[in-house]
């Protein structure tokens, strides 16, 4: 068991060492590949201490705030809507063509539309990110509601639960694994579209910083932003993995049984 952990650490360690040594030994010029140590030093001074002209800390907060607000708005819209659509076969069939048209649409093409309606401000960012991130939660919730074991609903009938009670005790818990796995996809999608729109609008946020750093040919800042966002994405994903393991244990067990 311990040895297996080591196996996983090894490739990452090798990459970090090579990354440090290549510029250190002058094999690759530092303006192309900065040392790992200088990247982490840059993250420390610029993001944590707020020094330097890139203000990575402040821009990082912009990005995170937008991502989380957009994600939250997407979840608030998608979960109830998904339950309504999924509960009725007719509603589902009537709305399906509309969903099928809007879902594959790459959200970036609608950036001008959101700019025209809202102007470039915080509500525009949040509305746009919510639009981009809403689909996985919505589709998953619809599927989750539709694929409830009929046995569970029969059970609710046998126990003579009323509608409200059977909703909270049966439908919602049975749908929750789908909702959580949709949210996991959505949160990372929200981060992706946030950085994308920040790069395109060039206003603030890490997406702006990274374009600015490229214009200044500042590789250290470029790598700092990339590392910061990679860690953020990893932590976001890890939170959901933990949540899935914790709250959805019964679901995973039931999946293995069938």
């Amino acid at each position: 068991m311990k040895l297996e952990y080591l196996y996983g650490v090894l490739p990452i360690a090798v990459i970090l060492v090579v990354w440090q040594l290549l510029p250190q030994l002058g094999i690759v010029p530092q303006q192309f590949l900065p040392k790992v140590s200088s990247v982490f030093y840059e993250i420390y001074t610029s993001a944590l201490l707020g020094q330097g002209r890139y203000q990575l800390g402040a821009n990082y907060l912009f990005t995170i705030e937008r991502t989380l607000l957009g994600f939250a708005l997407a979840a608030i819209i998608a979960v109830p809507l998904g339950i309504v659509i999924g509960s009725s076969r007719s509603v589902n069939r009537i709305l399906e063509p509309t969903l099928e048209v809007f879902r594959p649409l790459p959200p970036v093409v609608l950036i001008p539309f959101f700019i025209l309606i809202f102007g470039i401000n915080d509500s525009m960012y949040v509305a746009y990110i919510a639009f981009g991130a809403v689909w996985p939660i919505l589709i998953n919730t619809i599927d989750g509601v539709r694929e409830i074991e009929p046995l569970y609903l029969d059970l609710a009938k046998c126990l003579m639960m009323n509608k409200v009670r059977s909703f909270f005790r049966i439908r919602l818990p049975a749908t929750s694994p789908y909702i959580v796995s949709g949210m996991r996809v959505s949160l990372l999608l929200a981060l992706l579209v946030t950085v994308a729109i920040e790069m395109v609008t060039g206003h603030n946020g890490l997406g702006f910083s990274v374009v600015y750093a490229q214009e200044e040919s500042d590789a250290t800042t470029l790598y700092s932003v990339i590392v910061l966002l990679a860690i953020t994405g990893y932590v976001f994903d890890l939170l959901f993995v933990q949540a899935e393991n914790r709250f959805m244990k019964w679901y995973k067990l039931s999946q293995n049984l069938t």
Binding site: Y7, G8, V9, L10, P11, I12, I15, F32, S90, R93, I94, L95, E96, P97, T98, V101, F102, P104, L105, P106, V108, V109, L110, I111, P112, F113, I115, L116, I117, P136, I139, D143, Y178, S181, G182, V185, L188, L191, L192, V193, T194, V195, A196, M199, V200, L206, G207, V211, Q214, S217, A219, L222, V225, I226, L229, A230, G233, Y234, F236, D237
Partner: protein, 265 residues
């Protein structure tokens, strides 16, 4: 009777889409939103058809798609081959898993400026980043697909001495295929986002639908801008549809569970 209700539902479904256009038209002509920034649905549809007629919008989408597909097909080739090799070897899988899990969630558009720094403002930057971004869902799904094979099946294959190419064709690929196709669908969505974002950042390429959309926006020519957005919607819809139909046709037995696979990716 059943066929009749099926028809009714299709008509109602298309009706919802048309009523969105109708609401758009009403909002525009009543000036709820000023028609200067929100041209009427009618003028947008007219503009769309003339853009299709003179070929400008189709050409723009094709420029975008040619770069998108180059990257996407690279990613598919690398992802499927690497995924099968990693999935078959427990030790390799164990050691690479943390690295893969770390690289996968990173918002890949952030690599576009880095690629510009290295390679300059050239087409291949977009192809490279599309490859990188669409690699992960395909790779991870392929690994999962290979690892999902029932140990009993593997055992039987061993007993029957099914090895080499035959093992790949008869056992591994059929088991992994539904996972791979669902990875391909997730990747396609991401490839679109990356390819169009890269065009919109500006300066990398001078053609493609992302470039046209911003060109029309900046010149205040909004009807053709919406026309271009509609063109993307149509292409994105049909590409997604093609993969869906492939999934249903080739693997009808997974049609249901495959939707669950999408959620996992």
């Amino acid at each position: 009777m059943r066929i009749l209700t099926d028809y009714l539902f299709i008509v109602a479904g298309v009706g919802v889409l048309l009523s969105i256009l109708l609401i758009w038209q009403i909002v525009s002509i009543t000036n709820v939103l000023p028609s200067t920034i929100f041209p009427s649905a009618y003028s947008v549809v007219l503009s769309f058809f003339s853009q299709v007629e003179n070929g400008s919008v189709i050409l723009a989408v094709i420029y975008t798609l040619s770069r998108l597909f180059e990257g996407y097909l690279f990613a598919a080739a690398i992802g499927i081959v690497a995924g099968i090799s990693i999935g078959l070897n427990r030790l390799v899988n164990r050691s690479l898993d943390p690295l893969v899990q770390f690289l996968r969630p990173m918002p890949s558009v952030v690599l576009i400026p880095l690629a510009i720094l290295y390679f300059g403002l050239v087409d291949s930057v977009i192809i490279l980043i599309v490859t990188y971004a669409s690699l992960w869902p395909i790779l991870i799904n392929t690994i999962d697909g290979v690892r999902s094979i029932d140990p009993l099946v593997i055992e039987t294959a061993n007993q029957l001495r099914i090895t080499g190419l035959k093992r790949l064709r008869k056992i591994i690929l059929p088991a992994a295929a539904p996972f791979i196709v669902s990875g391909l669908r997730v990747s396609l969505g991401i490839a679109w986002i990356v390819a169009v974002t890269a065009e919109m950042i500006g300066g990398i390429v001078s053609n493609g639908v992302g470039v046209s959309i911003f060109y029309y926006l900046n010149s205040g020519n909004l009807a053709p801008m919406y026309g271009a957005i509609i063109a993307v919607a149509i292409f994105a819809y049909f590409l997604n549809r093609i993969l869906l139909v492939t999934q249903y046709r080739l693997m009808p037995w997974v049609a249901r569970s495959s939707r669950m696979l999408d959620h996992e990716a």
